[in-house]
């Protein structure tokens, strides 16, 4: 095998791994974007709540030895429930036009949820179950991780499910109506609070899947991941274009793939600097993100 061919395989494999892993970033990005689209607000708790959901799933694994699929399901449900609680605690009763107070309350909730998890686990890394954990598909010179493939498929399916709910059901119609024109929606008899709460639950369900998929892909879960995942989720949201679900998907995969390329060529110390530069490039040359139709409001 020539050097060039070897290098080519290495790079494509690197990009491929990153793309598969990027699916989890995409899910987190979708969650941020969904809530922003609905309320025009930033829910800083989101990534932390997603991981907390994964911890609830892990509890099912630890205490009743539930199979991996049940663990993922419990994660999603728990995170959906947390989403509802966060809505009530941080958004429902704070005046609609007070963005700062809602933002700050959600930061308080992030601290709270994170610290609860830390208390429950002493912050130790814990084994997280995965599907097809040590399966490796060999395709010629390439190896594809079975578990990541599964993660990728789950991400695609749950995104498709979300899009179906948003665009094909009455519920979705209400959600979209509120996100586009909440006064008009109210006049049409849509209960804005109820719709917002449902958006939070939906985003939460998705977050629980993202959290458990991230944990499954690493194989270990630790509260260390919360802040980096929050930052990465926000970057994906902005690169994708605020409020755009397709944008968040593309941006998640893009960040996942490129981050591996930066790592491969420049080493880990500079990797994240290039990801941030990528964001700056978007902000300067394409401030509305990939989708180009971002909702422009503060």
């Amino acid at each position: 095998m020539s050097d060039f061919w070897f290098e080519f395989v290495e790079i494509t494999q690197t990009v491929g791994d990153g793309l598969l892993f990027g699916a989890t970033y995409a899910l987190i990005g979708i969650g941020f974007t969904l809530i922003f689209g609905a309320m025009g607000k930033l829910n800083m708790t989101y990534a932390g709540a997603s991981l907390a959901g994964a911890y609830a799933g892990l509890a099912a694994f630890t205490f009743v030895n539930a199979p991996a699929l049940v663990v993922f399901l419990v994660s999603a449900l728990a995170s959906g429930f947390i989403g509802f609680v966060v809505y009530v605690a941080c958004f429902r009763f704070i005046p609609v036009n007070n963005h700062l107070a809602a933002l700050m309350a959600s930061i308080g909730a992030l601290f709270f949820i994170d610290e609860i998890v830390i208390h429950a686990t002493d912050g130790s890394p814990l084994t997280f179950p995965a599907m097809f954990e040590y399966v490796m598909f060999d395709l010629g010179p390439y190896g594809i991780r079975g578990d990541l493939l599964f993660v990728f498929v789950v991400c695609v399916v749950s995104t498709a499910g979300l899009v179906y709910v948003l665009y094909r059901s009455r519920l979705g119609l209400a959600t979209r109506a509120v996100s586009q024109q909440d006064v008009a929606a109210r006049l049409c008899g849509i209960d804005v609070h109820r719709t917002n709460a449902i958006t939070f639950v939906l985003a939460g369900l998705l977050g629980g899947i993202a959290g458990s998929m991230t944990a499954a892909a690493v194989g270990v879960l630790s509260p260390l991941v919360t802040i980096p995942l929050t930052v990465k989720g926000l970057i994906v949201t902005v690169i994708g274009g605020l409020g755009s679900i397709p944008g968040a998907i593309v941006a998640g995969l893009l960040v996942g793939g490129l981050e591996n390329v930066f790592l491969y060529f420049r080493g880990v110390n500079e990797r994240d600097m290039y990801v941030l530069l990528l964001l700056f490039v978007f902000l300067v040359f394409r401030p509305h993100g990939i989708s180009g139709t971002a909702i422009d409001r503060d």
Binding site: F36, A105, F112, E270
Partner: protein, 300 residues
């Protein structure tokens, strides 16, 4: 006594950090990047006193100016983005700064050891105060001279036309523009002033802590920077001070007896405060009430 003075120093430094975000918030800009300017001030001033062996005052002013310069540069592209976009852009900036210092290694020999920033190993030996025999009281006074100066200046500016202009931009950009306010100048000026104030805070922090590393300047610190003005309210500079005392004095230090439950209570209290007083602990009605209580009631 040293403990209380240390706490008072910390409150002063965090007040500067909070005020740097406060200035921006008046113009309606929310920045989660103040930790970046704080880091620039801390590293620059530390390098000046340790490597170039400058006295602390010029080092501090230079550190603040360097931070202000970067804030000025950030100000222009930041004009293009608003709201959440600006939040994320500023997070990205401050993370970039943190990663820069994470990679920075600049060591010079000093006697039998070497000093200066040492990437992950951190920047030790920023011991200007103790090495020159400053007492805890003198350090505290030094810190608070800057806090009082900055607060007085902002308070005065708030009463003058400058404050009205800042707030006008924060309330309604379009209206402000239509009465002839130059948005670019106002926003960039606010960003620069915020950078300068954060830079002073960072420079003071580096010298009171004697050690900094990149992990000091994470998003968490930036979160605190905006938490102070939001919790305190934007009605006056005193709100930020009240919030710093509330968080650093009451929640972090005062609740220490709660042991490891303290951090859980911490999050809950922030949620409660925002639900009960969404415009801040020190909002306009509270300020009026207090004034009435001490017999200073004017027109409110």
């Amino acid at each position: 006594m040293a403990y209380y003075l240390g706490l008072v120093q910390l409150i002063g430094i965090h007040t500067l950090l909070g005020l740097s975000a406060y200035v921006l918030m008046l113009t309606g800009q929310l920045s989660l990047g103040q930790a970046g300017f704080f880091a620039i001030g801390a590293y620059s001033a530390g390098i000046l006193t340790v490597i170039f062996e400058l006295p602390v005052l010029p080092a501090l002013l230079a550190g603040a100016l360097i931070a202000a310069f970067f804030a000025f540069l950030v100000g222009f592209p930041a004009l293009r983005v608003k709201g959440l976009m600006l939040v994320v852009a500023t997070i990205a900036f401050s993370e970039f700064v943190r990663l820069f210092f994470f990679n920075l290694s600049w060591r010079v020999p000093r006697g039998d050891i070497s000093v200066g920033p040492d990437s992950t190993n951190g920047f030790r030996e920023i011991r200007y105060f103790v090495a020159n025999g400053w007492s805890a009281f003198e350090i505290t006074a030094f810190v608070w001279i800057f806090v009082i100066l900055v607060m007085a200046l902002l308070w005065w500016a708030d009463r003058s036309r400058a404050g009205a202009v800042l707030r006008a931009v924060g309330e309604d950009e379009l209206a402000a523009q239509s009465v002839g306010i130059n948005l670019t100048a106002v926003k960039v000026a606010a960003m620069t002033a915020g950078g300068f104030i954060a830079g002073i805070g960072g420079a003071l922090y580096a010298h009171t802590a004697t050690y900094i590393d990149h992990l000091t300047f994470t998003v968490l610190l930036a979160t605190f920077a905006i938490a102070y003005p939001i919790l305190g309210g934007l009605s006056s500079v005193f709100g930020t001070l009240v919030a710093v005392i509330f968080i650093q004095g009451v929640l972090v230090e005062g609740l220490r007896f709660l042991g490891d439950w303290r951090n859980i209570v911490f999050g809950l209290l922030i949620i409660a405060a925002m639900n009960l007083k969404p415009s801040g602990l020190f909002d306009a009605p509270t300020a009026r009430m207090l004034k009435r209580a001490v017999g200073l009631d004017g027109r409110g």
